[in-house]
C-alpha cells in the first residue's frame, strides 16, 4: 500500500516534469528563429557563406522541412547527445558543455552547502531568541545578504581575502580535491551570501510560526524535552525551508554566470557569456536547455522532498 502510493506519486511527478521539459524545449528551439537575421545566417555565424557550407547546414538542420519536423529532428539529435556544433569554436557543443559542467555543478553544490550550513542555524537562532539582540542581528544580516548582488560580493571578497589578506587564490580552479575546494571557496561564498539571507528569512519565519502552534505547547505541557519539542517544530518548518532551498539552487545556477566571470572560472556561466557575446546560437540553445533541465530536476527533487517530509502531500490527506 505505502509502496504503491509512493510509486504512483513519483510517476505523477515525473510525468509532470516531462511535460514541462517538452514545453520548454519548444521555447529553446524557438531561440534559433528569434535570433536576428535568417536561420542560415545565424547558423553560419562568422563562417564564409559558400554554397557548400549553406548546403551542409541545410542538410544538417533539415531547413527545407516543415517546422514541426525540424523541431523533432533537432530534439532527436538532442536526445542522442548531438547538440550541434559551436559557431565560435567549431567543436561539438556537447563536448564543450561536458568539459565545463562539473565545475559549475561543484560551485553550485558548494554554494548551496555553505548557505544551508550558515542560513538554517542562523534562522533557528533568530526564531529561538525572537525579539532579542541575537534575533535583530540575524535579521539585519539577512537583509544585507539578500540585497547584496553576487558579483559585488565577489569583488569585495576578492579584494579582502585574496588581494589584501592573501588567504585565497584570485583565480583558477586548482589541482586535486583540497586545492580545488580552496579555489572554489571564495566564488561559492559570493554565491552563498544572498542565499543565506533568504534561508535565514524563510527558516526563521517558518520556525516562529511552528513554535506558536498548539502541538508545540501540548508537547511542552506533557513534559517533552526542549530538544524533542524543537525537533517537532523543525520538522514541521521543513516544507518552507525546502521551498527556499529549491529557489536557492536554481538561483545559484543563474548566479554562476556573474560569479564565474568575476573569478575567471571556466564553467557553464562563462561559457554562456562567451556564447552570447559571439551569437553562438547552438551553444546558447544547448545551455538554455541544460539549465532548463537542471531547474526541472531541482524542482522535482523538491517535490519529492515535500512528500518525504510531509506524508499528507503523498497520501493526499487534507490539512485542515
Amino acid at each position: 500500500m505505502a509502496w504503491r502510493s509512493w510509486g504512483a506519486f513519483l510517476l505523477r511527478r515525473f510525468a509532470g516534469t516531462a511535460v514541462v521539459v517538452v514545453l520548454l524545449s519548444i521555447g529553446v528551439f524557438g531561440l534559433l528563429y528569434l535570433a536576428p537575421g535568417s536561420v542560415q545566417q545565424t547558423l553560419l555565424g562568422t563562417r564564409p557563406a559558400t554554397p557548400e557550407t549553406i548546403a551542409a547546414i541545410q542538410a544538417r538542420y533539415h531547413l527545407d522541412d516543415p517546422l514541426p519536423v525540424q523541431y523533432l529532428s533537432w530534439l532527436g539529435g538532442v536526445l542522442r547527445g548531438d547538440l550541434g556544433v559551436s559557431i565560435r569554436t567549431g567543436s561539438p557543443v556537447a563536448d564543450m558543455i561536458g568539459d565545463r559542467l562539473p565545475l559549475t555543478l561543484a560551485l553550485t553544490g558548494y554554494g548551496t552547502l555553505l548557505s544551508l550550513l550558515a542560513g538554517i542555524p542562523l534562522g533557528v537562532a533568530g526564531a529561538l531568541r525572537r525579539g532579542r539582540a541575537t534575533d535583530r542581528l540575524v535579521v539585519t544580516a539577512g537583509v544585507v545578504g539578500l540585497s547584496a548582488p553576487p558579483f559585488a560580493v565577489g569583488l569585495l571578497l576578492l579584494v579582502v581575502f585574496a588581494a589584501w589578506l592573501g588567504w585565497f587564490p584570485v583565480y583558477g580552479t586548482g589541482e586535486g580535491l583540497a586545492d580545488q575546494i580552496w579555489h572554489l571557496t571564495l566564488p561559492a561564498a559570493a554565491l552563498a551570501v544572498g542565499a543565506v539571507g533568504m534561508l535565514v528569512r524563510f527558516s526563521r519565519a517558518a520556525l516562529i510560526r511552528e513554535l506558536d502552534q498548539d502541538y508545540v505547547v501540548f508537547a511542552r505541557a506533557r513534559g517533552l524535552s526542549s530538544a524533542a519539542v524543537l525537533g517537532y517544530a523543525l520538522r514541521n518548518s521543513l516544507v518552507p525551508i525546502l521551498t527556499a532551498a529549491g529557489l536557492i539552487v536554481t538561483g545559484m545556477l543563474a548566479g554562476t554566470v556573474l560569479v564565474e566571470v568575476t573569478f575567471a572560472l571556466p564553467g557553464l556561466g562563462s561559457l554562456l557569456v562567451d556564447s552570447v557575446t559571439f551569437k553562438d546560437v547552438p551553444a546558447v540553445q544547448a545551455l538554455a536547455l541544460l539549465l532548463t533541465l537542471l531547474i526541472a530536476v531541482v524542482n522535482l527533487l523538491v517535490d519529492v522532498g515535500y512528500s518525504v517530509v510531509d506524508p499528507r502531500v503523498r497520501l493526499g490527506g487534507r490539512t485542515s
Binding site: R130, F218, A219, N236
Partner: protein
C-alpha cells in the same frame, strides 16, 4: 474553597481572593475537608476521602493563590485575585465565557503562558511551590501534571505517527512497545492506530490520541482546556465520559476548562465560575446547579437554551464581557446586573464564603431573591400554509475523493416566513446543503427552486436571474471573525450591501440598518478588528438582511459565540424574522438552539434526511435512533448525563 481559608493559605493571602475566609472559616484544619464536602451535596466523593484532603496541597493536588496575569508591554491586567484548590482525585470545572480568563488561569498555573504575559501569585502543584521555580515546573510536566488541549486538529504534530508521539511522553525506561498499545487501549483505540498519522484520524480519535499522549507520563493532575468544544455533540459526550472514567480509575486530580455550565455540572465535583478575569462563585456542582449565589451564574445558566422546550424569549444579558481593567474597583458584573445597587459600583468585591463550601463575590449574595421558577415552554404558533419560498428536490453532491456522497438525495421545502432547522453532525451534509442553496456549491443532481425559479446551477443563470436569486436568499456564516473584510469599515460593507440591492446607501440608511440589528450608528466608521464576536455577527446579519431577503440561510450562526451572546443573536434573529416576515434555513448541530427558533426540523445523517416534522414533534418524540442519540448528547446538567 473553604479548605483554602485555613492553614497556610490564609496566612500569606496576598490576593483579594483569599482574604474572605472570615465568614465561614473552619475552626480546625482537620475539619475543613468535611466542610468542603458539605458543599458537594450528594456527590459521589464521600467523607471518607476528606480526611486526606487537608494534606492536600501536599501531594497530587493543586493550590492557586492570588494569581494575577499581566501584560507588561501594555500595562494591562488580564486576571487577578484568582484562588482555588483542587484536592487529589477531585475534579473541578472552571467555567466562563471568552474573556473570563479561564484559559489564562490554567496556562499560568502550568507556566505555559503565551509570550508577553507575566503571572504573579502562588501556585503549589503536588505539594511543591512552583511559581518561582521553572525547573521544578519543567520536571513536573508530564509526570505530575499534564494538559489536554482544545483543538484535536492542531494539538498533535501533523508529521509524526501518533504511536511515536505518545511514546515521546513516556517516562524514561518505559517500553513503548508495551506502553503505547496499553495507553491506546485505555482511551478505547485499537493498537494499529499507533502507525497512523494524525490527518488519517477523525476529530474524536485525535482527541483520544491527545488524551493518551497527555496520560503517557502518568500525571497525578490532568488539566483539560475545552477538550470537546471542537467535537460533535455525540463525540463530545463519549470523550468526556472517557476522561471522567480514566480520571476516576487513575484517581487523578482533574481541572476542566469549559464555557458550558451544564457540562461542568455533569462532569465535575466542584465548579469555579469566572468572569472578566475574576472568580464570581465557587461551590459543589450539585449545589450550584440547584442554587446559584451570584447573579452572573444565574444569567449564564438562564442564557443556555433548554432542549426540552421552547422559551417565549431566551433571557439574554445585555452588553458583553468587559475587560478586566475596565471594571477595576467595582463588581465586574454590576453594569449588566438587574439586582445591582449603588454599592456594587463602589467597591470591588472578593469571593466570600456565603455558607460552608460556597463562595460568592456578590455583595448581596445572602439577600438574593429566590430564583424564579424555570420558564415554561410555549407551543409553536400555528403558521398558515403559505407557498414555498424554497423547494429542494433530491439534491445530490459528491466531492472528489470522498468515500461517500456529502448529499445523497435530500429534499426539503420552506414556506414563506417559516423557519426550518437542519440538524446533524459534521459530515452530515448540512453545510453543503446550505452552500448549494446559496449558489456557493454546485449540486451534481437535483433541483433547487428559489421562489419558483430554478436555481440548481447558478452558473447557467443569466446575470439578472442571479441578482434576483441573491435578493431572494442571503446567507450568514459561522465564523464572525472571517466573514467581514478586515480592510473595510462596517459602514462601507453595509453601504455596499444596500447598493447591491439597489437601495439608497446614504449614511442615514446605514445607520438605520445598524440600529435594526441593535448596534450604534457610530459603529459605521469602525473596522471589524475593533468589534467583538457578537458585534461582528450582528454586522454580518445586517449585511445579509440589508436587501430584506425572503430567505435567510444561517450556517451555524451562533455556534462560535458565547452563550450570553448566543441568546442575544437568537433574539435578534427571531425579531428580524417577525419584522421582515423572512423565512430561514437554520443549519446547526445544537438541538437546544434549534428548539428555540425553528418551526420544522430536518435531521441529516451522512447526507440523508432520517427524520422530519414539526420541531415539537421531532424533539419531544424522536422516531429515529440517530435523533435520539443527538438528543441524549445535549448536556442537561445532571450528574448522570455521562452515564
Amino acid at each position: 474553597m473553604a479548605s483554602r481559608a485555613d492553614g497556610p493559605g490564609a496566612g500569606n493571602a496576598g490576593g483579594p481572593g483569599t482574604g474572605g475566609g472570615g465568614a465561614g472559616r473552619p475552626e480546625a484544619a482537620g475539619l475543613s475537608g468535611g466542610i468542603r464536602d458539605a458543599g458537594l451535596s450528594g456527590d459521589v466523593r464521600g467523607a471518607g476521602l476528606s480526611g486526606d484532603v487537608r494534606n492536600a496541597g501536599l501531594s497530587g493536588g493543586v493550590r492557586v493563590e492570588g494569581l494575577a496575569v499581566r501584560q507588561p508591554a501594555t500595562g494591562r491586567t488580564l486576571l487577578s485575585g484568582v484562588s482555588f484548590e483542587v484536592a487529589p482525585g477531585e475534579s473541578v470545572a472552571i467555567v466562563g465565557e471568552s474573556g473570563s480568563g479561564k484559559s489564562l488561569t490554567v496556562r499560568a498555573m502550568l507556566g505555559l503562558l503565551p509570550r508577553g504575559l507575566e503571572a504573579t501569585g502562588r501556585v503549589d502543584v503536588d505539594g511543591v511551590r512552583v511559581d518561582d521555580d521553572p525547573r521544578t515546573r519543567a520536571r513536573q510536566r508530564g509526570g505530575v501534571v499534564s494538559l489536554l488541549m482544545q483543538d484535536p486538529f492542531t494539538l498533535l504534530n501533523p508529521l509524526r505517527r501518533v504511536g511515536r508521539q505518545i511514546a515521546d511522553g513516556l517516562p524514561k525506561g518505559a517500553d513503548p512497545k508495551v506502553e503505547v498499545p496499553r495507553l491506546l487501549a485505555e482511551v478505547g483505540l485499537p493498537e494499529d492506530v499507533a502507525g497512523r498519522h494524525p490527518f488519517q484520524l477523525s476529530g474524536g480519535m485525535r482527541q483520544r490520541v491527545g488524551l493518551a499522549a497527555a496520560l503517557a507520563g502518568g500525571p497525578r493532575v490532568l488539566v483539560a482546556d475545552e477538550p470537546t468544544t471542537a467535537l460533535d455533540a455525540t463525540t463530545q459526550r463519549e470523550v468526556l465520559a472517557l476522561v471522567r472514567r480514566i480520571q476516576r480509575e487513575r484517581d487523578m486530580a482533574f481541572v476542566l476548562i469549559t464555557h458550558d455550565l451544564r457540562l461542568a455540572f455533569s462532569t465535575c465535583d466542584r465548579v469555579v465560575v469566572m468572569y472578566a478575569g475574576r472568580i464570581m462563585e465557587t461551590g459543589g456542582a450539585a449545589a450550584v446547579r440547584n442554587e446559584q449565589l451570584h447573579p452572573y451564574t444565574r444569567a449564564l445558566l438562564a442564557a443556555e437554551p433548554p432542549a426540552d422546550r421552547r422559551l417565549a424569549v431566551i433571557p439574554a444579558v445585555p452588553g458583553s464581557v468587559p475587560a478586566h481593567d475596565a471594571v477595576a474597583d467595582r463588581c465586574a458584573f454590576a453594569e449588566r446586573c438587574s439586582l445591582a445597587v449603588a454599592e456594587c459600583l463602589a467597591v470591588g468585591p472578593v469571593p466570600k464564603a456565603v455558607r460552608p463550601g460556597r463562595e460568592s463575590a456578590c455583595l448581596r449574595a445572602t439577600e438574593l431573591p429566590a430564583q424564579p421558577a424555570p420558564a415554561p415552554g410555549v407551543t409553536l404558533p400555528f403558521r398558515g400554509l403559505a407557498d414555498a419560498v424554497l423547494d429542494v428536490r433530491d439534491l445530490r453532491r459528491t466531492f472528489a475523493g470522498a468515500g461517500r456522497p456529502a448529499l445523497a438525495g435530500v429534499s426539503l421545502s420552506i414556506a414563506s416566513g417559516e423557519v426550518v432547522g437542519v440538524v446533524g453532525e459534521s459530515g452530515s451534509g448540512k453545510t453543503t446543503l446550505a452552500r448549494c442553496v446559496a449558489g456557493l456549491e454546485r449540486p451534481d443532481a437535483g433541483t433547487i427552486l428559489l421562489d419558483g425559479v430554478d436555481c440548481s446551477d447558478y452558473g447557467r443563470l443569466s446575470r439578472t436571474a442571479v441578482r434576483q436569486a441573491r435578493r431572494t436568499a442571503q446567507m450568514i456564516f459561522q465564523d464572525p471573525y472571517s466573514t467581514l473584510n478586515p480592510a473595510r469599515t462596517i459602514g462601507a460593507a453595509l453601504a455596499e450591501a444596500l447598493r447591491a440591492d439597489g437601495r439608497p446607501a446614504a449614511s442615514g440608511d446605514v445607520a438605520r440598518l445598524l440600529e435594526s440589528v441593535g448596534l450604534g450608528r457610530d459603529m459605521a466608521g469602525m473596522r471589524p478588528a475593533g468589534l467583538s464576536g457578537g458585534e461582528r455577527q450582528r454586522v454580518a446579519i445586517a449585511r445579509a438582511v440589508a436587501g430584506e431577503p425572503r430567505l435567510l440561510i444561517c450556517d451555524e450562526p451562533v455556534s462560535a459565540l458565547d452563550v450570553s451572546v448566543q441568546a442575544q443573536i437568537l433574539g435578534l434573529l427571531a425579531e428580524l424574522r417577525e419584522r421582515l416576515s423572512m423565512a430561514m434555513l437554520f443549519i446547526t448541530h445544537d438541538l437546544a438552539v434549534v428548539r428555540q427558533i425553528a418551526d420544522r426540523l430536518y435531521v441529516l445523517e451522512a447526507g440523508r434526511c432520517v427524520e422530519t416534522g414539526s420541531a415539537d414533534q421531532v424533539l419531544d418524540a424522536p422516531a429515529h435512533p440517530y435523533t435520539r442519540a443527538l438528543l441524549a448528547s445535549v448536556p442537561d446538567g445532571s450528574a448522570g448525563w455521562l452515564g
